[in-house]
Symmetry: C2
Amino acid sequence: MPRMYFDMFGQMKKQLKQMDKWFDAAAAYAETKKFDSTVFLGLRLAPDQFTFARQVQITCDTAKTAASRLSGKEAPAQADTEQNLDELRARVKSVVAYLDGYTAQDFAGVASRTVTQPRWEGKIMSAHDYFLEHGLPNFYFHLTHVYAILRHSGVTVGKRDYLGPLTQRMP
Amino acid sequence: MPRMYFDMFGQMKKQLKQMDKWFDAAAAYAETKKFDSTVFLGLRLAPDQFTFARQVQITCDTAKTAASRLSGKEAPAQADTEQNLDELRARVKSVVAYLDGYTAQDFAGVASRTVTQPRWEGKIMSAHDYFLEHGLPNFYFHLTHVYAILRHSGVTVGKRDYLGPLTQRMP
């Protein structure tokens, strides 16, 4: 089981690196269309949904926090102060670097670990349930919103940019 | 490990059931605004992205196909002929029923199983890599697009409708 969690976080890391490439496409699109690429940070799909910048921040935080909660290792707090694509890129990079510090062994205690949050009013979840029911779905939710906002705005990203290279081999 | 895959598919089943509830919200919205709810089926976030109906179909297929490929159990082929929300609902229900037929034991052979697709030109992936790098990210990608299309259209769905009830308890 520790290996499976480790692999799942490896995949989240891969997705974060793919997201970083979408920023290239966004920047290129802004240049072609001659608008300031910081405009992206305030875009949203609905007036009462989070902005692009916030979706990126939450994607990062969900991965970081889940790794921390499943392992008991500390996660660095990060201010949500990014003002442009390069600063968002740095945020993504910092989370990838944080996850790089993990080994499969760090998840050895997940089965006996529990998670709580202030708004849960004292209730707890097993770390396993928390990951499957909360951490992972939220990670993909916000990641996909980052993608969808760019796609909706006309940026040239496609499914391959979402999935990234697959670990394929000849039989 | 078989247990972990089983739990992951349990979570996908839960997400499919939540998606079914978004259809209620969509139907209610159509009634309030007095438009034909079949309009939803053709909506998309970008002109060269899949429609709402197709996103629902692919979400269903991704879950079904991944379970089949990881277990070696057959999956029923399904025609993509849904014409309204009720028919999409039936599609979702059929996949939930299909996944209900699984036990953890069905995933016991994943470690030694491989997956291929015609367009991979003879290449293969381990079933484990396939699930983490392809099946799961695609499932959440299309699921979140279904949600985002509704949200972008003004339908009242929120994060709780996405996540569903969490397995919480008092310590």
